[in-house]
């Protein structure tokens, strides 16, 4: 039977302003996890009932550990940031479907924005062929060295120009005239929408990992929907980000919201 597990926090450190990296001894979760999947973390604070969905950033199947990278965005993630090494946390996962890796594609483009970057790290680990990683941040890049260590070419845009290209990641991609066979992407919705339109214009298939406010994370509450239309469907459907996603083909997503 599935269950919420109490797991040990092996490491929980600030890696940039308001950004933390947490490593968990997550036996039974690490073994099953795929890039793009997420876990539910539960708060101790009794005022906060709902799980916090956090993407899996790295998976170590041998050690049975996973790594998460999260931003302090509110009371729940703030609570997480105070957890000390050796304490436990309640977790459920892996959840969702993750990226569908297409090994036939040689030239992979991976695009991350802000806290959308972490799940792409494990993805890049598992991709075959060439990988160009385009990352956009407001100001502080994260995980750059980690991507480089995997042999990927990393291209960085920051909104305030504090590191490398000044502007957004799509502008950088256009400027560098990027070419590729497939795009894997995760980040804020406006970024995903813009890149998805560009990808369509370039005829490059693209996968996007979406975010939505969740209540259960396991597909029962129907709270986390996005508008999608599969190729063979006449009308659009509200699909669940937690169960049908979080990764979708970008041409199936209806971006009008």
């Amino acid at each position: 039977m599935k269950e919420i597990k109490h797991v040990t926090v092996l490491e929980n450190q600030m890696i940039a302003p308001y950004m933390y990296s947490m490593t968990l001894q997550a036996d039974g979760i690490a073994e099953l996890a795929k890039p793009g999947q997420f876990v539910n973390l539960y708060c101790k604070g009794e005022a906060r009932l709902l799980p916090r969905p956090i993407s899996i950033c790295e998976i170590n199947k041998e050690e049975g550990t996973i790594n998460l990278i999260y931003a302090v965005a509110g009371k729940g993630t703030e609570e997480f940031s105070h957890i000390e090494e050796g304490e436990t946390i309640e977790i459920l996962g892996p959840l969702g479907n993750g990226f569908m890796i297409d090994e036939s594609k040689r030239r992979n483009i991976v695009v991350g924005g802000g806290v959308g970057t972490p799940p792409l790290l494990e993805l890049v680990k598992q991709l075959k062929g060439e990988v160009d990683v385009y990352l956009g941040f407001r100001s502080y890049p994260i995980l750059v060295e980690e991507f480089e260590r995997l042999g990927a070419r990393v291209h960085i845009a920051t909104e305030d120009g504090s590191v490398d290209f000044k502007g957004n990641v799509l502008e950088l991609m256009k400027k560098e005239n990027v070419k590729g066979d497939i795009i894997y992407s995760c980040g804020p919705k406006p970024m995903l929408r813009a890149i998805s339109q560009w990808a369509a214009s370039q005829n490059i298939p693209m996968q996007v990992s979406l975010e939505e406010r969740m209540a259960c994370g396991i597909g029962v509450c129907v709270g986390c929907v996005c508008k999608t239309r599969k190729k063979d469907e006449g009308d659009w459907q509200h699909r669940k980000v937690c169960k049908d996603g979080p990764v979708f083909w970008s041409d199936e997503v209806i971006w009008d919201e």
């Binding site: 599935k2 009932l49 939505e212 209540a215 259960c216 029962v220 509450c221 709270g223 929907v225 996005c226």
Partner: protein, 304 residues
Amino acid sequence: MNKESLDLKVEIGGVVLKNPVTVASGTFGSGREFAEFIDLNQLGAVTVKGVSSVPWKGNPSPRIAETYGGMLNSVGLQNPGVEEFIKNDIPFLREFDTKIIVNIAGKTIEEYCDVAEKLSHADIDLIELNISCPNVKEGGVAFGTDAKMAKEVTKEVKRHSKHPVIVKLSPNVTDITEIAKAVVEGGADGLSLINTLLGMAIDIHKKRPILANTVGGFSGPAIKPVALRMVYQVAKAVSLPIIGMGGISTGEDAVEFILAGATAVAVGTANFRNPRATMDVLNGIKEYMMTYGIKSLDEIRGIV
């Protein structure tokens, strides 16, 4: 006295549930996902997500907001329609030794009756008539806040249903006993309460409501005092069996509802925090009975 010898059976509309624990509609899907966490055979009944005569798309996202000790939802009864439901979910649920309660939604009396009729030929046990969803403008809640309409829709659905009908009441009313009495006059076989309160939350940074729908249904431990008060009031006012719900997450919570007069109890929002919440509630009830030497819940039901 041991746990196995406790008599937990309860009867609603002639249907016997092996124990008083069911789930709140919309918080358990059709049970499929929870079958991976718990043994559905242990539940007195599974109450499924609201179904309508045709597929409903529901409201735009975001549909969920967290509040202090509770949550808001504005799902808006998204569902694939009763025919899909009958085809996909009933065969699955029937594999388990548990009763099936189907929550039905509609925007007009005709729509409600249509669902009830289609379900009449299906292998289910009870219908729960949702006249209280705050998330669908056209219907539901208007029926639930007006005694005359509540009676009318109950009467019509009863006429079209082969199954006993439980009517689910809205808490967003001045006097819940008035609606309860009207529904009894309409011929209901049981009552369930409460549906969600109407609530709101604002994102002060984006300066707009968190929910795309502005307002939503408020549920979870935070609302328990209101739910318990209403179950108490309704139990004193009418003599139909009541399924009590609203913030139940422990056996102690459930016992409070039974003492207030509930025949059965439903676990809702608690399922999201703890997929085993129903089992914890059931065990908690049993432990309470053991502690106080209670052989049957009839001994304590409504004695407060």
